[in-house]
Assembly symmetry: C2
């Protein structure tokens, strides 16, 4: 499994992905799931993937081939809008999965992949979109301006909180990391190192960092977070007296 997320804030975008992959519990590895693409100077894209690693790799290779080969075909350099980039990505993903479907189905496997595509084309609104294996897409809503793929349940609460609190870009990055740590703690199929990318609207440039599992920053984040949770627990109001009678 996997956990990738993206947040759209007033200032910019935040992307975070884990790197753990597994084919069965005895075949665990580390692969990059967050990819930054700069197909031309007027645009920057971030791609996050969940699902079949093989399909993801072939999709990325096809994207690169389309960019490097001259000719009259679509590519991330030729699309005029983010939604066209999402449709292009969705078409590749659907094609690749479809080509291997029969062989994979015979082995009881599923070759589909789900993507988050985000970024900006100069002069247009930065955005994040979720691309389904079938090739269609949705945008993040204005009410819940974040997207998740993979193991999305464990850390969803944190993202809702970030949105509710109208946090700034840097705080959002911290909250995203907390959401990730919460997920990794609960689910073995999600794990460090983590790839974080932060995009400031209009910059057409991404700040990227890989955060290792032994990073002192992660340790400190966990410590501060846990301390506050324990404080919260001790500060919670008492259960109504009719239930607390014999346990108070």
């Amino acid at each position: 499994m996997t956990y990738c997320l993206a947040l759209r804030l007033d200032e910019g975008l935040v992307f975070l992905a884990d790197t753990r992959t597994n084919a069965g519990v005895d075949n665990i590895s580390t692969f990059r799931k967050l990819h930054v693409l700069r197909p031309s100077p007027d645009r920057v894209f971030v791609l996050e993937s969940a699902g079949s690693l093989a399909t993801t790799h072939e999709v990325l290779d096809r994207i690169e081939r389309d960019l490097s080969q001259p000719g009259d075909h679509d590519s991330l350099a030729t699309v005029n809008h983010l939604f066209e980039a999402a449709l292009y990505l969705g078409r590749l993903s659907n094609e690749v999965a479809g080509e291997h479907q029969e062989a994979l189905a015979a082995a009881g496997a599923d070759g589909t992949a789900t993507f988050i595509l985000g970024g900006q084309i100069a002069g247009q609104r930065p955005d994040i979109l979720l691309v389904y294996p079938e090739g269609n897409y949705i945008r993040a809503s204005d009410e819940r301006p974040f997207l998740q793929i993979g193991e999305s349940k464990y850390g969803k609460f944190m993202l809702e909180l970030a949105v509710e609190a109208h946090v700034e870009l840097e705080a959002a990055a911290k909250i995203a990391l907390t959401s990730m740590m919460m997920t990794a703690r609960a689910n073995l199929s999600v794990g460090p190192p983590y790839d974080l990318a932060v995009y400031l609207n209009g910059s057409l440039a991404l700040d990227e960092v890989r955060i290792a599992s032994d990073s002192p920053f992660l340790g400190e984040l966990d410590e501060v977070w846990t301390r506050h949770l324990f404080d919260a627990i001790s500060d919670l109001p008492g259960v109504p007296p009719d239930v607390g009678a014999s346990v108070g």
Copy 2:
């Protein structure tokens, strides 16, 4: 869907269940999923259920019939150990689901149910057990002495925290409610009112309360909790400088 949980602490047991049921999004109702059974003075059981409501109801009716009819058959009054109660419950559940399986499968439905069974038989250790639809069971482990059925992912973190913090019985009840609220906020299929039962070891009596959706206590719990989370967010350490450079 459903969210039920149980915690086993040094002092006693905590049980919490939501009451929302749904057969499609346009058929939403409220049913009790936490049931207290006192089949004889030397024992008390709590039953929580997730899955088919029909199967749950028939299982409960059969449990009552077995208790009220004299004769040489198993019942919750005749079992000598909690694990025997779990096996008895599992047998009923498996039988009921099996009897309706063909008709349900033809309608594309699943009639299975999963249970948490907890409580104490006098002189024995209080415990909580998870009973699978197939009729077998597991105990809660010593390292993670809690069980969840239904929508377990959203609120799992809170229970792990409670265990890690070695909280007392009343604090555990508050944490369980926080875990429930977190789940209900994220998932429409889980909702109030909530049934809370707290068991003090050796008492053979349960404190029960139903907490309504408009309960001032729930509101205060949410307020204190959210305030502490926002404090935590503002107190989190800064993201490493190489990623914060253009966003600080």
